[in-house]
Symmetry: C2
Subunit: 121 residues, 2 copies
């Protein structure tokens, strides 16, 4: 059952991270996500990490960085939502900056953020 489902919610895609991510899973997720963005003409991608207790450096670097950047190239904004306080602290301590990625407290606020951003542009 090692596959991360990508759910379509009107013009947005939702991914919830629940499993420990390894290189292969992250790679697959990125590929599948980009495929889905193209297929569904999604305007935004929401990545929910509320189930994630620790964010290792690979996951931080590849997932947050690359996915946000590649989705943007296809015209979709990315929002990282539901981050736990401990993970936020770890990110800051490691000096990781979240470029090309919006953040929000939860899925609902992330959706509002992306809708607002798209309407504004």
């Amino acid at each position: 059952m090692e596959r991360i489902p990508i759910l379509k919610l009107s013009h947005f895609l939702l991914v919830t991270i629940q499993v420990d991510l390894n290189d292969q899973l992250v790679g697959e997720l990125e590929t599948n996500l980009l495929h889905m963005v193209r297929k569904t003409n999604a305007q935004g991608v929401l990545i929910d990490v509320s189930g994630v207790d620790t964010l290792d450096s690979f996951m931080g670097r590849v997932m947050i960085g690359n996915i946000g950047r590649t989705c943007k190239l296809l015209g979709a904004e990315t929002a990282l939502v539901g981050m736990q306080s401990a993970v936020a602290i770890t990110l800051v301590q490691r000096g990781l900056r979240l470029r090309d990625v919006q953040t929000a407290l939860n899925v609902e606020k992330g959706l509002e953020l992306l809708k607002g951003k798209i309407a504004f542009e």
Copy 2:
């Protein structure tokens, strides 16, 4: 990272099952889900099983049966969405009936179904 996140989407709750469920996880999910239904006054619960390749009998019996039934007692409808064909075949072969649970092809159709059902009542 053994915890299944429950996401709130307006009046609905969304759970995506990605990990192999054991007794403890299913029990926790049921408790957390009922707590969230009460806390958020949710009208419906969507359980996405698109990431599930096999549905063992415990998961089928407890999750689909009990969760649907208990949520209904609290006034929330439950929809099981994204079921893979192989899982559907297994359910039928095992003679499992999905009482108190609606089913739909994906999250979007599940949302429509629940909204329609609520509006109709």
